[in-house]
């Protein structure tokens, strides 16, 4: 709790207006590490965080769709964000983490797992502290970036989970067709 309050304090000073900070709309982001960068996803989209599990490969899938796992009886596809963003691949082991997110699908919600290096922190970020992404943003396709945010003197790349996941799964279909 105190950690969260501390975060809010940071936000307030970052906003530069201590009094109005309470009025600004803040969203919570779960941050995770991928290579040397830190990314954030809207925490509302996150269903759970789970450890590495045996993944069953699905034919005709692009390389970043590792396959499917059994999540308490549901068949859930798993996307490797390192491969998706064109980063160097590292072997999956017990420390590999899967962030399970839910996104809108054609028929209700879709549950999809994203493989990341490690989960980092939860930040409260005010909307006005989010800056639009620059045109050149290294490996990540700009369309999947919601914006950039500065947090504890680090840069956080905020991802558009819906866009990223839907595009990944849909391109998986195209590859199959």
């Amino acid at each position: 709790m105190s950690a969260v309050e501390g975060q809010m304090g940071v936000n307030a000073s970052a906003a530069g207006a201590g009094l109005s900070a309470a009025d600004s709309i803040k969203e919570q982001y779960l941050s995770f590490i991928l290579g040397s960068e830190e990314y954030g996803v809207d925490i509302q989209k996150v269903q759970e965080i789970k450890g590495w599990d045996t993944v069953t490969r699905v034919p005709y899938s692009p390389p970043y769709v590792l396959g499917v796992i059994n999540l308490r009886g549901s068949i859930v596809p798993v996307i490797d964000l390192r491969i998706r963003f064109g980063l160097e691949q590292i072997p999956h082991d017990a420390t590999t983490v899967i962030i399970v997110v839910h996104v809108p699908g054609e028929r209700g919600e879709r549950i999809v797992g994203m493989v990341v290096d490690a989960v980092s922190d939860v930040y409260d970020i005010a909307a006005e502290n989010i800056r639009p992404p620059p045109d050149a943003l290294g490996s990540v396709d700009k369309v999947f970036v919601r914006g950039l945010a500065c947090q504890d003197k680090k840069m956080l790349i905020l991802l558009d989970v819906d866009g990223l996941v839907i595009a990944s799964v849909n391109s998986a279909t195209k590859a199959a067709a």
Partner: protein, 715 residues
């Protein structure tokens, strides 16, 4: 919030019961056709009565008003005041359709279209009028005679009549009615309470309830004054109501009811002089003109058209609930009880385990596996419904269709109690309708032709359902003309489906009728003959994991036999291994598995590989190539060939090893991911990992198409 949810539940039950009631009415009416007995009429009447009551309660006034007129007619039949004529039965059957359409719209939360109801109300009024002794005005002439109060047609409902101009509240003798004008009164009450109504401890519901004891009450709530949710104060009353009370009620009685709220409400009483029960019969919605869309064309076609989106929306919005017999639930509870006992017995071992307990532990585990299996079976039982639910539409269909085609057909249903999975049941309905229509239209001959052929004038159409092994068999059997092989073959040659010199087996010829766009019908009727249908039938059945077979003898009739799995949730699977990957194939599609020897293998142009299986050559599907897997060996002779069949086509699939045969629970890949070619779904192994299920028909089709594509390219 929770009240809303509760209400939703109750309304859902109303819909379910209404549809059941409508089915009951329909089947009752169909038996009335042959002979009218009091008990059947009573059953029909009761069903109509409950629907009317329920619809009124939940504010579906269009339904309740229309059903009311149906009820009136039935009541007269029930009391013996009216003979049961085929004409009346036909109108009642149409009424059932109309009520069903309206109920479906209501269920889909769409505005209720009353065109169909309006058209039929005229018919109903006409029939009711015949009784009352007045000259039965022919429908077309009704407009002219409308002004005559003694005639009893209902101009507002006739196609020619303009939108009911006045929808009169105090209509006087403008709308002709059955009962003499003025004999029954009613009241229209506009009830606008102060917002502080609730604070005076008054409950409008109590008042309405009181009014219903005086007569038939229709309530319309006006919600226009409702504030946005954030400004909503639950202690205030934002609603006002328009009440229509039918019946000979004294003004004083009504004032008495409103006595308590008079001080905090604005109440306007308007007497309805001639809006008597009869008027309600002939004019649904008359009391609430605003709620009824203007009637212009009352053509039944329009109604049918309007019903289509409603039905579609219903299918989409149907949350899908099942009514389960109490004994099935009780059986489940018993099993869960046993499971709990087994669990506590096994739990003991976790606390203290002596090697001597091994035998007891093993027994406990055996018991646990038995409990699990029984529980699984019982849970599956809940999804099982008798096929009668699907069959019960056919008496009506055959009745209507044979009448239309001028054929005499007797329908025999057997095995209606055969149970199958709800999903299968829902999806098999349409294919069955196609098959029955085909049988009636193409199979069955006209009575004179039958007599000339030495058969009885009345044809027999049989629908049978029974279990065979792990499948359910449904047969559609007619004693009509049978399939004309020569004609099918000629047509197929004409269309280039079959080469001139090709000879086909009977089965292959019959299978031609499943080809899309294939029809031997000389003329296209509105029943069938367009050549769409049979291909859809086969596709639907294949989608359900079943297959169709045709047996036919010329001159004696045809039998179409459908084999379906009992359930879609569980599959008898054969586990296969290719390299490091595990797949599951449906056992039903596997004919046998063979270890090929080199002399049985051959290849065409070095491309497509064939395997000689008994007398035929089967294409070899290399699963490792198709799915990009690193196999143990690429040498076919070192692997196993699984001979599979789907849609009458065979192929062999190359795998490395056969593993266990086991029941697997089918999980959807699509829910969270996508449909993948060659895969029918996924399942979960005992160790918690996922295995993919092969879509054997899809694999064969894709593979053969690709093969033929390649050959064409090469040529």
């Amino acid at each position: 919030m929770s009240l809303d949810l509760e209400m939703e539940e109750i309304v859902k039950v109303f819909f379910e019961e209404s549809f059941e009631g409508l089915d009951a009415m329909e089947s009752g009416l169909l038996t009335l056709d042959a002979q009218a007995d009091r008990e059947t009429i009573n059953t029909i009447f009761r069903a109509a009565h409950s629907i009317k009551g329920g619809a009124g309660t939940f504010g579906f006034l269009e339904i309740s008003q229309f059903t009311h007129s149906v009820e009136t007619l039935l009541d007269e039949m029930r009391n013996g005041m009216r003979a049961v004529t085929p004409d009346a039965v036909q109108v009642l059957l149409q009424s059932v359709d109309v009520i069903r359409e309206m109920t479906q719209s209501a269920q889909a939360k769409q505005p209720i279209v009353t065109v169909g109801a309006d058209a039929l109300s005229g018919e109903l009024a006409r029939i009711l009028a015949q009784k009352s002794g007045a000259a039965a005005a022919p429908a077309a002439g009704a407009a002219e005679t409308a002004a005559d109060a003694t005639t009893v047609a209902a101009p507002a409902q006739l196609p020619a009549a303009p939108a009911t101009s006045a929808a009169p509240v105090k209509s006087g003798p403008v709308v002709p009615i059955i009962v003499a004008p003025g004999s029954i009164e009613g009241w229209r009450i506009t009830f606008t309470p102060e917002p502080t109504l609730f604070q005076t401890c008054n409950d409008p519901l109590r008042i309405f309830h009181e009014l219903t004891s005086l007569g038939q009450l229709e309530v319309t709530a006006h919600v226009g004054a409702l504030p946005p949710l954030d400004a909503f104060d639950a202690t205030l009353c934002y609603l006002s109501w328009t009440l229509v009370l039918r019946g000979a009620v004294e003004h004083a009685r009504i004032i008495e009811v409103f006595d308590w709220v008079e001080a905090v409400s604005k109440i306007v009483y308007e007497p309805l002089y001639v809006e008597a029960a009869g008027a309600a019969v002939s004019k649904p919605g008359a009391a609430l003109p605003a709620a009824v869309p203007p009637r212009k064309s009352a053509a039944p076609e329009a109604a049918a058209g309007a019903a289509v989106p409603a039905t579609a929306a219903k299918a989409a919005g149907d949350a899908g609930s099942i009514r389960v017999a109490t004994e099935k639930v009780d059986a489940l509870i018993n099993l869960v009880g046993e499971l709990v006992i087994t669990q506590s017995m096994l739990g003991r071992f976790a606390e203290k385990y002596e090697p001597a307990d091994l035998e007891a532990l093993r027994r406990g585990l055996i018991q646990l596996s038995r409990n699990t299996r029984e529980l699984q079976e019982s849970v599956m039982q809940i999804r099982m419904l008798p096929i009668g639910f699907s069959f019960n539409r056919f008496p009506r269909l055959v009745h209507d269709l044979s009448r239309k085609l001028g054929k005499k057909v007797e329908l025999k249903l057997t095995g209606e109690n055969t149970e199958l999975d709800k999903t299968v049941l829902e999806k098999i309905g349409d294919p069955l309708v196609h098959l029955v229509r085909n049988a009636l239209d193409h199979g069955m001959e006209m009575p004179e032709t039958r007599l000339a052929a030495g058969k009885s004038e009345t044809g027999t159409l049989e629908l049978n359902a029974f279990h065979e092994g792990g499948s359910i068999i449904i047969e559609v059997k007619d004693d009509g003309a049978g399939l004309n092989k020569a004609r099918i073959l000629a047509k197929a040659r004409e269309r280039g489906l079959v080469q001139e010199d090709e000879t086909l087996t009977d089965e292959q010829i019959y299978n031609l009728i499943f080809v899309a766009g294939f029809s031997t019908a000389d003329k296209v009727s509105d029943v069938s003959g367009r050549g769409v249908g049979m291909d859809v039938v086969r596709r639907n059945i294949n989608d359900l994991g079943g297959h169709v077979q045709i047996f036919s003898t010329e001159g004696l009739g045809s039998t179409i036999r459908i084999r379906l799995p009992l359930t879609l949730a569980i599959l008898e699977g054969q586990v296969l291994r290719v390299g490091k990957e595990i797949y599951v194939a449906s056992l039903v599609s596997i004919i046998e598995t063979v270890q090929p020897t080199r002399e049985h293998l051959s290849s065409i142009a070095g491309r497509s590989e064939l395997f000689k299986h008994r007398d035929s050559y089967l294409p070899i599907i290399r699963l490792h190539d198709l799915f990009d897997i690193e196999p143990d060996s690429r040498d076919i002779a070192k692997g196993l060939l699984v001979v599979v069949e789907a849609d009458g086509r065979r192929a062999s699939i190359l795998v490395d090893e056969l593993l266990a045969q086991q029941q697997v629970v089918i999980k959807s890949l699509e829910t969270n991911f996508k449909q993948v070619p060659g895969l029918a779904g996924a399942t979960i192994h005992g160790d918690g990992t996922v295995a993919l299920i092969l879509d054997v028909p899809g694999l064969i089709t894709n593979f053969l198409e690709r093969q033929s594509g390649r050959v064409e390219l090469a040529a």
